[in-house]
């Protein structure tokens, strides 16, 4: 802990914190106001990750400039989020697609409609087990 | 520092080492697992006896784990009461283990021997610890091991009863934690001896909290001890458990009673303000109701194991009638009866198994069945166990009941206590006589069901249990003096506070 922080630190960190908070709020607002699940999915996967990223960078900067401590580990949180957020989104989207196909989503498909099957004989992996030897079937028991 | 200096912790260490070793060797070399288990129990018994010898002159051994002085670290306290419970546990363990091995009960599922050792570790730890949170931890160890053992062999009855047993105990554990939190918040310590000193300083405006905490803690112990109306979990659980396990469980309810005896005088004794002798208004009525319910259950039960289970409740009630006096005399009587009733209950469960193993489909139901192997001998065993369980002469139960009768005569409510003790004995006698005569004397129509094959080997464990009861009766002079001294020691918390709070730090 050191004495008073430089003004630049105050400004930069404040900006990052405000930015982060704003993005987090916007992401969650999107979650509430967008019309269907697929649209809502965009809010959290992007806005909140960047919102969080901004706050984390703010934290790094703060500890460096104000406290004089190098703490980089906050960046790790972002790394994990960037690796995992697309997977979460993918899995949720799959649930949506699956339920859509099963007719279980009460409000239907949303403005984008139901996705067409891909060209050719095969369907989407959520509806049809990945074919042997394709990238979708390279692992697992 | 020699091994003797570590005496107080050995009863915990021995099974805690034996269990993982058994776990490791069991897959490849089951015989070695058995050897380790038996060796562990024998060593435990030897250790416990050595400890009993050491503390019998009134010495209190305090062992500060990690050499962190009490009250800052965890301290184990070996006094007369603890040594007695350890000897009892080790004896019971040997009997139950012998029976399990002879009847091959250990083969009916996974990890029996390892769980058995863990169970012993939990029991021994609970009897030794001088720290309230550590008591909670050992409660959990012995409980989780008991879940595994209780479910050993599985089958729908066990599983169903198991769910209830586990859930009820989870609630009990939650209460324990709440009580612990409150006591820590009020006293700032976890060491029982220290807490006993600090409760006196609880300010007047916190007396309500203190009393609530004390009541919660006591009710947790009551739940473990299966004191009415917190006993509902017991009959089914014990009746469906593998008999060797049920025999070991005979000590489980006694853990609750032990904790009550240990904690109330030490923490909620004279100086505890609103929490002083906190179970007082409730304990005697609850004990009386337990005794009545227990022996009424013995009276109407329809199988030997069910009878044994109810007998456990009844004997706890009887025991608590003595404890409720909180005098050295009555507590001493109670401790003697505690040792007796534990072994008696174990004997009953084992005899029930011996019967069930011989009667094929009839099991231990209280109905006429086939004439089975060694019927006379088994009948004698049953009779002896029933005599023990009801407290008739010449076994130790009688002496225990006489001790209780004599000691509670000084209490204001002695009439109730006497009436219940004598009345429940009567109900018990009638109940066992009915069931016994139906099982051993009455024979079902020829050819209805074949008796099971049997060897004499499984008569050994119950016979040993009964032999111990004979020894307890024969040695009642010494035993009752010991029990009285143990009670006096427990009721003088200053003694143990001195030992724990000064010696432990060295």
């Amino acid at each position: 802990m050191s004495g008073a922080a430089p003004a630049s630190a105050d400004l930069i960190v404040s900006a990052l914190v405000v930015l982060g908070g704003a993005f987090a709020l916007i992401g969650s607002w999107g979650l509430v106001r967008l019309p269907s699940l697929m649209e809502r999915l965009h809010g959290p996967t992007k806005a909140t990750t960047l919102g969080l990223g901004a706050m984390l960078v703010g934290s790094v900067v703060w500890f460096q400039l104000a406290e004089g401590v190098w703490t980089t580990h906050e960046l790790l949180v972002s790394v994990f989020l960037f690796v995992t957020a697309p997977i979460s989104a993918n899995m949720i989207a799959k649930v949506h697609l699956h339920r859509l196909r099963q007719g279980e989503v009460s409000k239907g498909a949303g403005p984008a409609g139901t996705p067409e099957p891909p060209p050719g004989a095969a369907d989407w992996a959520t509806h049809e087990a990945p074919h042997q030897g394709t990238p979708g079937d390279f692992v697992g028991d | 520092m020699t091994l003797a200096d570590h005496l107080p912790i050995l009863p915990v260490i021995i099974p805690a080492l034996a269990a993982p070793i058994v776990l490791l060797v069991m897959r490849r070399r089951p015989v070695l697992g058995v050897v380790v288990s038996v060796a562990s129990c024998l060593t435990m018994l030897a250790t416990a006896l050595a400890m009993m010898v050491q503390v019998s002159d009134g010495t209190i051994l305090a062992y500060a784990v990690g050499e962190w002085a009490a009250p800052f670290g965890i301290v184990l306290v070996a006094d007369r009461l603890a040594a007695m419970m350890l000897v009892l546990t080790a004896s019971l363990a040997l009997i139950a283990l012998l029976h399990a091995l002879v009847t091959r009960a250990d083969r009916k599922g996974w990890h029996f021997l390892a769980l058995f050792q863990f169970q012993l570790m939990g029991l021994n730890g609970a009897f030794l610890t001088g720290d309230l949170f550590n008591l909670f931890v050992f409660f959990e160890v012995l409980l989780i091991a008991s879940y595994g053992l209780m479910l050993h062999g599985q089958g729908s009855a066990r599983l169903k009863a198991g769910v209830q047993y586990v859930v009820v105990n989870l609630v009990g554990s939650s209460l324990f934690l709440i009580a612990l939190g409150m006591l820590y918040a009020l006293t700032g310590t976890l060491n029982m001896a220290d807490m006993g000193l600090r409760v006196a300083a609880v300010p007047p405006e916190d007396q309500g909290l203190l009393r609530i905490a004390a009541l919660l803690l006591v009710s947790v112990f009551a739940l473990k001890a299966a004191v009415a109306p917190l006993h509902l979990w017991l009959p089914r659980t014990y009746a469906v458990s593998t008999p060797a396990v049920a025999a070991l469980f005979a000590i489980m309810t006694k853990v609750g009673v032990y904790s009550l005896i240990r904690v109330v005088p030490q923490v909620f004794g004279e100086g505890a303000g609103a929490a002083a002798w906190v179970p007082a208004p409730y304990l005697l009525p609850a004990a009386i109701v337990s005794a009545v319910i227990g022996f009424a259950g013995v009276f109407v039960a329809r199988s030997l194991s069910e009878q044994a289970a109810y007998a456990v409740i009844g004997s706890t009630g009887t025991l608590l009638i003595a404890v409720a006096g909180w005098s050295a005399g009555s507590l001493g009587a109670g401790l003697y009866y505690l040792a007796h009733s534990t072994l008696a209950a174990a004997a009953l469960f084992l005899v029930a198994d011996v019967v069930a193993r011989r009667r094929g489909a009839f099991g231990d139901n209280a109905s006429p069945g086939p004439v089975f192997a060694q019927r006379g001998g088994v009948a004698l065993l049953f009779m002896a166990a029933a005599i023990a369980a009801t407290g008739l002469p010449p076994l130790s139960g009688f002496i225990g009941k006489l001790l209780i009768l004599k000691s509670v005569a000084a209490l204001p409510d002695w009439g109730w206590a006497w009436g219940v003790i004598l009345g429940t004995t009567f109900i018990g006698v009638v109940g066992f006589a009915r069931v016994g005569s139906a099982v051993f004397w009455k024979t079902a129509g020829e050819g209805t069901a074949p008796a099971g094959p049997a060897t004499r080997a499984d008569l050994g464990a119950p016979a040993i249990a009964l032999g111990l009861l004979v020894a307890l009766a024969a040695g009642a002079g010494w035993a009752s003096v010991y029990a009285d001294a143990a009670a006096a020691q427990v009721l003088d918390p200053a003694q143990s506070a001195r030992a724990v709070l000064t010696e432990a730090g060295q």
């Binding site: - | 089958g155 586990v166 939650s174």
Partner: protein
């Protein structure tokens, strides 16, 4: 509104919900009830060290004032134990359901020996089977 009120009321609400669910008839609900209760209990035990903001018990030369570390250690132990117990009870109830086909915690309403046709057989010792 104080933190103390928030925590205390949260504990109360969790306990109330837990008790209510624990008294339901099926294992899943009971397990949920126990889970709520254990949250409450952990918070309660934690609260025995009172609420302190911004003074974690990480020793530092420059700091003289910490929150009480002991309840934290106790809660940690309690969380672990509770987890073990919860896992056990969940699997036990599952196993029990698989064995019996029922997930009702009340088991059978009929006592276990009512079906075996021996009720009363010891009370009336009437007939003889051997001459």
């Amino acid at each position: 509104m104080s933190y103390e009120f928030l925590v205390a009321s949260a504990i109360g609400v969790l306990v109330a919900g837990g008790i209510y669910l624990a008294l339901r008839a099926r294992t899943f609900q009971v397990v949920l009830g126990l889970t709520l209760i254990s949250y409450a209990v952990n918070l309660f035990l934690f609260a025995s060290g009172r609420l302190v903001v911004g003074r974690p018990p990480i020793w530092d030369k420059a700091v003289s004032d910490y929150t009480d570390p002991l309840p934290q250690a106790l809660v940690l132990t309690a969380i672990v134990i509770t987890f073990g117990m919860t896992a056990f009870v969940v699997i036990l109830s599952l196993r029990s359901f698989l064995e019996t086909g029922s997930d009702h915690v009340d088991g059978d309403k009929v006592p276990c020996d009512a079906q075996d046709g021996m009720a009363g057989s010891i009370a009336e010792d009437g007939e003889d089977t051997r001459p």
